[in-house]
């Protein structure tokens, strides 16, 4: 392995529930504090305690934040997974292990460098309490890594001081443990390793946060007052984050009363029912769930679409179908969410790629839901939701006011003749609503999932039903220009190749485009941010001969949606897929694209003109 500075992958193999998470985060955060781009990922099993769990940290001078294959340094603290962990190290890589016990021969690979540290022995000598022994073992390896990789000790000290505000007694033993690890390395190994860190100034104002916390904060800023939810990995921390921020920022200091209500519902059906009830009654309300929860919410989503009640749903996708791999990531609820419920139903989807977008789009989703009087579904995923990401800082414009959509007040009702809840007065398909309790004699209407006429009166008249369904399509077309527009990455010399991606495939897609460019393959790119697709998406596809669609599911669901919605020739859209439950990598993308191009372009010695 060549000596690389600020460009490598470290993987930690731990036992679930042993307190390794905070030690590993300390490691990642220290690199971030040294001004070097870093991206950590949890790779955890679906169980509570005692089984193997991994944490992977990619360091990238170039700022690539997608996952990268290959492990340069394996920190193995779990004997259970050791055989597999040894195998996963890249040739020439390092294997740091607890050498309290001698390593058996089957773990020895000639092409791997071993760094044995008697973690357990050191810990037992230093600490008496069994829990402490377990916790500080983790800190000792962080100390060792600091020495091996050149992490600044002051940075670690600073982070520990911040972490233990109010529990200062804990700082000393942590520092002690760090030093134990550092000393051991100083005495036994040559350091730093060829892979190591050097302070940079590449972070700027960026912050580090997970997508779910960003969504929770976005809901708070977006003016949500009612949150109803039911626990499910990987979405649970959205509601928890909302609650934490709300407890901090939304409680009246004098009375202790809350400007919000959070209900942990009995199931997802109830959670969605509460969201609909609250929105119907004029409160901004949301829920967060994952695939199985969306399945349960289908009936209510159809009701909200047809009865035209706003609702915000944050779907943090995980691997399906059914229980699938509950703690692994996928983008596989696309079609379920887009068309949730029976009949001709369709929903607005928002597709954030970063925590900043999680924050902004969640806040914006309430405006969209109320303006369009329809459910808005945020599609994030486990990778974005549960992993810490470097992100641009959040911003808020204080002059911004919530757009509550077309809601009539009592005096407006006085000024009009007969109120028609489903009358398309403005020609944009969006009708006026009233909140319950507005006016003694005007504006009351009956909300129902059954067909009705423009005055909300029940009818099974086919013509009235058709008029209504067609108006809903007018509204859908209006929505096209209200949802966030796609981002286009296009050089001056337009290629005839295009690529479309969205959400968490973005980091790896961008990196893959760079890799392909080095091979002489230039591709224009479009990042989807929302469904319905607007004209830009159509134009992009029309103006390219071949368009790759990158996504993380088996059935190329986004490609299907594009074909269905834009009437494009399916042969033109080439799927680029990953669905093993791990985040897609640049390598996967670049390989699939170049393989396709090699297979479809006539073989000459020169690069075909077609792909330049």
């Amino acid at each position: 392995m060549s000596s690389t500075i600020n460009d490598f992958v470290v993987r930690f193999a731990n036992v679930n529930g042993t307190g390794s998470a905070s030690a590993n985060f300390l490691f990642a955060k220290a690199i971030f504090r040294m001004g070097i781009p870093v991206t950590p990922k949890n790779i955890f099993p679906s169980n509570i305690q005692g089984l193997p769990t991994w944490y992977e940290v990619r360091v990238s001078e170039k700022g690539y934040l997608g996952r990268r294959e290959g492990i340069d340094l394996m920190v193995c603290v779990n004997p259970q997974s050791m055989i597999q962990d040894v195998k996963s190290v890249s040739p020439g890589g390092y294997f740091l292990y607890d050498s309290t016990k001698k390593l058996a021969v089957e773990y020895i690979r000639p092409d791997v460098n071993y760094l044995g540290i008697p973690l357990m022995e050191m810990c037992n000598a230093e600490f008496k309490d069994p829990r402490q022994r377990q916790l500080f073992k983790n800190i000792i390896y962080v100390g060792a890594l600091a020495q091996l990789l050149n992490i600044e000790f002051e940075v670690l000290q600073e982070l520990l001081a911040e972490q233990f505000i109010g529990k200062e007694k804990l700082i000393a033993p942590n520092i002690k443990s760090l030093q134990l690890g550092m000393n051991y390395v100083q005495e036994h190994f040559t350091y730093p390793l060829p892979i190591h860190l050097e302070r940079r100034n590449l972070i700027g104002e960026r912050i580090m946060i997970d997508g779910n916390s960003a969504c929770g904060l976005g809901a708070l800023y977006g003016g949500a007052t009612v949150c109803a939810w039911y626990p499910i990995t990987p979405s649970t921390s959205v509601a928890e984050a909302f609650e934490n921020y709300a407890n901090e920022l939304r409680i009246d200091k004098l009375t202790g009363e809350k400007n919000f209500a959070i209900v942990q519902a009995e199931d997802e059906l109830a959670a969605m029912g509460m969201v609909i009830g609250a929105n119907w009654n004029g409160a901004r309300s949301f829920t967060a769930t994952s695939g199985p929860g969306v399945s349960l919410m289908n009936e209510f989503l159809g009701l909200a679409y047809f009865a035209e009640v706003p609702a915000v749903l944050i779907d943090v996708q995980r691997t399906g179908p059914s229980t699938g791999m509950p703690t692994r990531t996928q983008q596989s609820d696309i079609q379920l969410a887009a068309y949730a419920s029976h009949g001709d139903t369709r929903h607005i989807l928002l597709l954030p790629s970063t925590p900043k977008e999680c924050f902004e789009m969640t806040a914006q989703s309430f405006d969209l839901a109320e303006q369009l009087q329809t459910p808005v579904i945020m599609l994030t995923d486990l990778d974005l939701g549960m992993n810490d990401h470097m992100s641009e800082p959040f911003e808020w414009d204080d002059s911004y006011t919530y757009n509550r959509g077309k809601v009539l007040t009592a005096s407006q009702l006085n000024d009009i003749g007969r109120f028609g809840r489903y009358l398309d007065t403005d020609g944009d398909g969006i009708t006026y609503r009233t909140y319950p309790g507005t006016h003694p004699t005007k504006g009351a209407f009956f909300t129902r999932g059954t067909s009705r006429d423009e005055y909300a009166t029940y009818t099974e008249d086919g013509a009235a039903y058709k008029r209504n369904m067609e108006r809903l399509m007018v509204k859908w077309n209006t929505a096209k220009n209200m949802v966030p527009s796609p981002e286009i990455y296009q050089k001056k010399n337009q290629s005839h190749l295009g690529v479309i991606f969205f959400g968490t495939s973005t980091y790896s897609a961008e990196e893959a485009m760079d890799q392909l460019r080095e091979e002489g393959i230039f591709i224009d790119a479009l990042r989807l941010k929302a469904f319905p697709f607007n004209q830009t998406v159509d134009d992009f596809i029309q103006s390219h001969q071949t368009v790759f669609v990158i996504e993380q599911n088996r059935d190329a669901q986004m490609r299907g949606l594009l074909i269905n919605e834009l009437q494009v020739n399916p042969a033109k859209l080439i799927p680029v897929l990953n669905y093993d439950g791990m985040p897609i990598t640049a390598h996967t993308i670049a390989t699939q694209i170049s393989t396709y191009l090699l297979q479809t372009t006539p073989q000459t010695n020169e690069l075909p003109a077609a792909i330049i």
């Binding site: 939304r250 509460m274 409160a283 919530y402 009351a444």
Partner: protein
């Protein structure tokens, strides 16, 4: 269509305290079968709201799916209504109530709606003590889907199609008492004298008020064998108490005979005046209510009246400690912490 309301109204219809005539509390014409018990319950709701001088637009009426759940169209035409999905009215009502605690919430459901598909939500809305009136129009069958047995159908009873129900019936009133509902009453759709005051008391109750109303389905379950038929109910009702609802402003003390009466204080200071028929009936004793229901059931009797009330529990908003101001009236001023708070959040994430 069960009844044709005359279009002509006498110009001098009596008005209530806030100047409304009964007309203001009526809804669209019913499309239920003529004689359906549900229509009588709608009429009782109209009567109760009129007599209590409730502003019609301060009521939100929600329902699930079923003949019974259609009824909110037929009362309080000036109120917003929400006919949601089958069995899931309680969650929609919960959300609505969280959004605006100042309205009166009426939930209407059927026995299919509440005792089968919606059992989970029924249980949990009780558990949360949502401040609402929850009426089950209980006919022991599925009316809208044409007469199948519901979970409250009597064991051994025959459905219209002739099949015999092999399962035990769920007794919703017992269940509500058992689950700790803070107000549980039972009545019969044909007994307006009893039903109207019960509805009035339920409205005044601050918390979850459940009224199970036996409401015969004339089309599918008015069979001689059914305990939800007219004849059966007429023969087997046992009233726990005669109920009179007394608004707080009225002088009450001299009005009642001592010894046989109980006054139940409602949250707003009004009273429920109960004239006990059964010996030692104490509507504030949950255990005796549960026992009495079980005993009546064993005898094939239907206990009616106010079975249980408890005004000591917090309703949902009190439990959550939400602001007194309805959440749906809060603006960005109260809701959005602004850019300065965000800057410090950013700073904490570096």
């Amino acid at each position: 269509m069960s009844y044709l309301r005359p279009l002509f109204r006498h110009p001098k219809l009596p008005t209530n305290k806030i100047g409304y005539t009964k007309k203001e509390y009526e809804g669209a014409l019913s499309t239920l079968c003529a004689g359906c018990g549900h229509d009588s319950i709608s009429a009782a709701i109209v009567q109760a709201c009129y007599e209590m001088s409730i502003e019609p637009h301060h009521v939100a009426k929600l329902s699930g799916i079923g003949c019974s759940s259609k009824t909110p169209t037929y009362f309080l035409g000036n109120s917003h209504g929400f006919n949601s999905v089958h069995g899931r009215m309680p969650s929609v009502a919960t959300g609505a109530n969280l959004a605006n605690r100042n309205l009166v919430y009426f939930g209407v459901s059927g026995d299919g709606d509440s005792a089968s598909i919606g059992m989970g939500q029924f249980v949990h809305v009780i558990r949360r003590n949502l401040n609402m009136v929850y009426i089950v129009m209980n006919n022991g069958c599925y009316g809208l889907t044409k007469g199948q047995d519901s979970a409250t159908a009597d064991e051994g009873s025959k459905s219209k199609s002739g099949s015999v129900n092999p399962f035990q019936a769920i007794d919703l009133a017992s269940l509500a008492v058992e689950l700790g509902a803070t107000f549980v009453a039972q009545s019969f759709s044909g007994d307006k004298q009893q039903l109207v005051p019960l509805i009035k008391a339920a409205i005044h109750h601050k918390g979850f008020a459940f009224i199970n109303v036996i409401s015969p389905c004339v089309t599918f379950n008015n069979n001689p064998g059914s305990t939800k038929s007219y004849d059966y109910v007429r023969e087997h009702v046992e009233a726990t108490s005669t109920v009179d609802f007394v608004p707080e402003k009225r002088e009450i003390k001299a009005y009642y005979d001592e010894g046989t009466d109980t006054l139940v204080t409602m949250h707003d200071g009004s009273y429920l005046h109960l004239h006990k028929l059964a010996k030692d009936w104490d509507p504030q004793n949950r255990i005796s209510a549960a026992n009495a229901l079980q005993k009546a059931r064993a005898k094939g009797e239907i206990l009616t009246g106010l079975l249980y009330v408890n005004t000591d529990f917090k309703e949902l908003h009190e439990t959550l400690n939400t602001t007194k101001q309805p959440l749906n009236t809060l603006t960005e001023k109260e809701l959005c912490p602004g850019s300065a708070a965000l800057a410090s959040i950013n700073a904490g994430l570096r």
